[in-house]
Symmetry: C2
């Protein structure tokens, strides 16, 4: 850290060996309806593709593997960039710690694009039944579901989410385009496996909706996943076969924030599912752990832990765990 004017501190410069972006899991299809206005000729388009943006630090830290960061429902790779209130996000933090970092947009969302064939066909043929359902979290749903902050109906006075910057957060929510498409989730799983083939052995860090994608990608290529880190995963569904074949080899960390005393909401149940998965993996001889932050004396974390005011502390905790457990 460099001090300027005796008070303000700036982080040291960020020194990168290289950066860039590319696509994986591309499939070419013939679309009969690539448009519903303008030039209408049928032709080929790319679908199921996943956009990947990466940075490789100049100084690699010994013992740290590359990290692949996967966002949750209603979000894009923006999740891991600058926080809504302008602080450093997890992607840059991990790079500064010496790890190559890959940030993705789910297949069928944001810079990964989506297939407009069904909507264009619906418009041109009057077939409303063909229209896919594009779910967008409203601000009100996000506020409650993601346990962001204080409200008449919740006691979140101690939230660490940067609630004053809520507008910058709401701006990043976008439609879950891919969930409406055939094999929407499976496309991201396939794309993560393709990405792992390209990066080589890496840590997979997933959030919320992507919890299951992480489990399935680890199952698809267990030799390439040095550890799976699930940040408040919606699911911890791991079959007995997967426990044996995958998670006796792939260390698993699940991490949950503060439920703010709302023991009847969805989150305690989701953590309970993870605790059971952790126990089954341990019984089979694997490495697995759940961290419930309030039990570590850390209160106030929302569902968006990578944006909370203690986001660097949490990222450091994850790296400490990886150094111990991801060989």
């Amino acid at each position: 850290m460099k001090k300027i004017k005796g008070s303000l501190t700036l982080p040291a410069p960020l020194v990168l060996a290289r950066q860039g972006s590319f696509f994986v899991n591309q499939r070419s299809i013939h679309s009969a309806f690539p448009a519903a206005a303008g030039v209408l000729e049928p032709g080929h388009i790319s679908v199921k593709v996943m956009y990947v943006q990466y940075q490789v630090p100049q100084a690699l830290a010994p013992g740290l593997h590359p990290l692949i960061l996967v966002h949750g429902a209603g979000h894009s790779g923006k999740t891991y960039e600058e926080t809504p209130d302008g602080r450093m996000g997890w992607a840059e933090y991990f790079v500064r710690c010496g790890a190559p970092v890959y940030v993705v947009d789910h297949s069928g969302r944001a810079r990964s694009g989506f297939d407009p064939t069904p909507t264009n066909q619906a418009l041109l043929q009057g077939r409303a039944d063909l229209v896919p359902a594009f779910r967008h979290f409203t601000n009100e749903q996000a506020w409650v579901t993601f346990r962001l902050g204080p409200a008449a109906f919740t006691p979140f006075a101690a939230t660490l989410f940067p609630v004053d910057a809520r507008d910058q957060y709401f701006a990043q929510l976008l439609p879950n385009t891919e969930t409406s498409y055939p094999e929407g989730g499976q496309n991201t799983v396939d794309a993560l496996a393709a990405l792992l083939e390209r990066t080589g052995p890496a840590v997979l860090l997933v959030h919320s909706q992507s919890g299951l994608y992480g489990i399935q990608a680890a199952a698809a290529c267990p030799d390439l996943v040095k550890a799976l880190v699930c940040i408040e995963p919606r699911d911890c569904m791991i079959s007995d076969a997967q426990v044996q074949a995958v998670f006796t080899r792939v260390p698993l960390l699940t991490l949950f924030g503060d439920f703010f005393g709302l023991e009847t909401g969805v989150w305690p149940g989701r953590m309970q599912a993870c605790l059971q998965a952790v126990e089954r993996i341990r019984a089979a001889g694997g490495k697995a752990e759940n961290i419930y932050l309030p039990q570590r004396g850390i209160s106030g974390n929302s569902h968006m832990l990578m944006m909370d005011r203690n986001n660097q502390q949490l990222a450091g905790m994850i790296l400490d765990w990886l150094r111990l457990n991801a060989g």
Copy 2:
């Protein structure tokens, strides 16, 4: 450049003072149909917002202004990142030359999201007429329209576009979501003006579809645009009032690649419109220039000049022009 193993050369490390991303031009609306599956409660969502990703080099070059890079139809900010064949894109090149760089996704596209209200309403109410038209360039259309490479019907044998990496290029094409929405293009113009308010005086570099957005953003805040660079703009529509009020102050550069002898296509006509605009601005005492690359002895450039094999040469030419003309 650092030599390794006596043959391969690697670029020097990239040293950044800071980087990040944020949103501008956010509007909150009440959506009656934020979803058509799952949780269906109406509520507020953010629309018209524009995603901006930026990098500021540690060593700023004297005389270079920040650059705002705006993509064209069917593309996202990915346009200016790593090229399809894995070389450095214009965004990183300009940063390495010492300029802060801001890369955007049009309002209503890619990480900027889009409003799913009309499609969800169409599905729930059986109203196919409400479905917006989402145009996606097919590979075949892109190949011809963007003059990418050789084909039975075109003589592009000398193209500088990295045709062997065409699949990575096709993967980045995505639906023009925003063109179907109310004020689709105007939202990006408004967002560029909001971005300029935040960055302060900057150079606006636009491509293809965004040519008109650049002209309109310059007209909205001429004191904040140090120069407008239009890369193969679709339009050069500048009114007499704009010539006087805007372009006597804002220098204009328009730049075109190789038409490969296809003098009957759309591109010669588009350049002709720019040549006329340039003449009118000069007659009014402003600075304006059109560069037609073959007249400078540079043959083989496609519509995607920022991806062509000589992309760094072209970026350097643009910087040279800016140093001379953008005070």
